[in-house]
Amino acid sequence: MPELSYLESINQALHQEMERDENVFILGEDVGEFGGAFKATAGLYEKFGSRRVLDTPMCEWAFIGLANGAAMMGLKPVVEIQFADFISTGFDPIVQYAATTHYRWGAKVPLVIRAPWGGGACAGPFHSQCKEAWFAHCPGLKVVIPSTPHDAKGLLISAIRDPNPVIFFEPKYLYRREKMEVPLETYSTPIGEAAVRREGSDLSIITYGAMVLEAVEAAETLSVENISCEVIDLRTLVPLDKKAVLDSVRKTSRALIVHEAVKTGGFGAEIAAIISEEAFDVLDAPPARLTAPDTPVPYSPPLEKAFRPDAGKIAARARQLAAY
């Protein structure tokens, strides 16, 4: 099996889905000949031409609106937002139109909005944001955040085949970080199923996105200290695999929730709430959240390092929790 980076895996999924289905098309800023700011769409323009790989002017509102209309006509738009931070510029067509339409009058709006997401690259307050919680709070949207090259491909394929609008955040921190074996053939990874990245018995670390890597590293460190951590990668926030979360917590009786997004109102609050509502009886310690603090994402390395959770901070917090 070939080894692919996260980015190559995304690119391959796009190539294969566009080959499979005439209705799939790409649109966004600089996605054509240029291949996108991160080269996620490289080679598609050459193969599929400007009709199916559409370079747009800068107009997030209109091109997401266009995607909504095209989706209702049976096409399968895959929108690229240049950085996830700019998704707020095209907010209405997503949270007001795409999210509500099937409920309101039955039309399907099957589109995918891909966006390079998250921090860790000294890119400052406007190229590092993690606003998945905004979308998780909009019934009608699915929210997917894969953490491995394998999942990136399988989940993107699922997202493209899904009959609903899917917000697909790609941790750009992982784009070129680690390669892994990714099957050449197409396959789909189901939306709504978490993955157990590491089994453990003392404590569950529940996370998603780039933090999965950090959590696994922390778990490895802790295993030497005889603290056995289970790492749950949510993979999709909506629909949420509650069962996987609760099964793990029922096993370990301790939960540490980790995300890159800021704390207040982050999706970690939802996980903590669900755990305390539904696994209260088994908890040996309060469910804990380790997140970024409530600030914009700062640029300078010492600040961003302090801002962002990492393996070291996760291990430290997990130790406390295990000792509770």
């Binding site: 997401i64 209309g69 209405d92 339409t101 099937h102 309101r104 009058w105 039955g106 039309a107």
Partner: protein, 328 residues
């Protein structure tokens, strides 16, 4: 009176136009009455003064064309095949409406089998939606057109600019109809822009733009016909500004006493339906008998619609959480 340009149009077509406009008006009247009787749980927008625009444009669409209306386009829904009963049912919040009681008045009054896109409040979302439908026609090399509407108010929103420019760049087969009824809720046009004709903005996108009399259904039809022709020929979008006045309040709750009486009086004289009826009478196409026949037919349809709507059950609370997502 000298020869009217309507003489080029078959009498049957002209009567059809009149029928749709009258039907629209009578539904509007009936909605106001039903609202006042408390038979609508929510509000309802007035259509008065907009009938020539919505009917004169939508009438030109063919099967397979798409339409994304705004909140003064009841006429367009009717012309495109939405039954009065379903419209009343929507305002009443009943199961039989296009939204099954989930959306209010003309919001969410969509039906893909009719290629009508339900709108959201956030103006002017429909412009992006219509553009998307138009792009699907380009994509599939279909000889189709998408038609959409927005108000003078919405013309100040950023989305309006984005949609017009993107449509221009893509040469998308879409017709944008600007219903300049001189008010955005209580805000008069002078507080919204400095230009005489908003259609001038078309030049900034490199597309054709015209301003026409929005009370003249024939003028609307002719301008739309040209625009549709251009769209089907691959020459891209057109902006048509129709000038009129909203003859009632923003919605049924609004007495609109901010509209200067003189202005209102002037435009009431230009009631699109009276104007057109007169023209048809003067041209000998309409007489008392035919009018009575039309009126009778309309009243019957409306009665039937109201009855149908009221017979439609309330949605069941148990369905509340259904259909947030599509399963397949």
């Amino acid at each position: 009176m000298s020869a009217d340009s309507i003489n080029k149009i078959p009498g049957k077509k002209l009567l059809e136009l009149l029928y749709w406009m009258m039907l629209t008006r009578r539904i509007d009247d009936r909605c106001e009455a039903l609202f006042k009787q408390g038979r609508f749980p929510g509000g309802i927008f007035s259509q008065e003064g907009h009938e020539a625009i919505s009917v004169g444009s939508a009438i030109l669409l063919e099967e397979g064309d798409a339409i994304a209306p705004m909140h003064r386009d009841l006429g367009a829904y009717l012309v495109r095949g939405m039954s009065p009963g379903r419209i009343f049912a929507q305002a009443m919040g009943r199961q039989g409406s296009p939204s099954g009681g989930r959306d209010v008045n003309t919001h969410g009054l969509g039906d893909l089998s009719l290629r009508i896109f339900g709108y959201v409040s956030h103006l002017p979302q429909s412009m992006g939606i219509a553009l998307g439908a138009a792009y699907s026609f380009l994509y599939r090399k279909e000889d189709r057109v998408a038609l959409t509407y927005f108000g003078d108010g919405a013309s100040s929103e950023g989305g309006c600019h984005e949609a017009l420019n993107l449509a221009a760049v893509l040469k998308a087969p879409v017709v944008f109809i600007l219903e300049n009824n001189q008010y955005a809720y209580s805000t008069p046009i002078e507080k919204q822009c400095l230009v005489e004709n908003l259609s001038i903005r078309a030049e900034g996108y490199g597309i054709p733009g015209v301003t026409i009399d929005g009370t003249d259904v024939i003028a609307v039809m002719e301008a739309t016909r040209e625009a549709i022709g251009r769209a089907r020929a691959g020459d891209g979008p057109t902006l048509i500004e129709c000038k009129n006045l909203r003859l009632k309040g923003h919605a049924a709750h609004d007495p609109a006493d901010y509209i200067p009486p003189g202005l209102l009086k002037r435009w009431k004289k230009r009631d699109p339906i009276s104007l057109f009826r007169e023209r048809l009478e003067n041209s000998g196409i309409l007489d008392g008998n035919k009018l009575a026949e039309l009126q009778g037919r309309i009243e019957a349809e409306i009665e039937e619609g109201v009855e149908w709507a009221e017979a439609s059950p309330w949605p069941e609370a148990a369905t509340l959480e259904k259909d947030v997502f599509s399963d397949a």
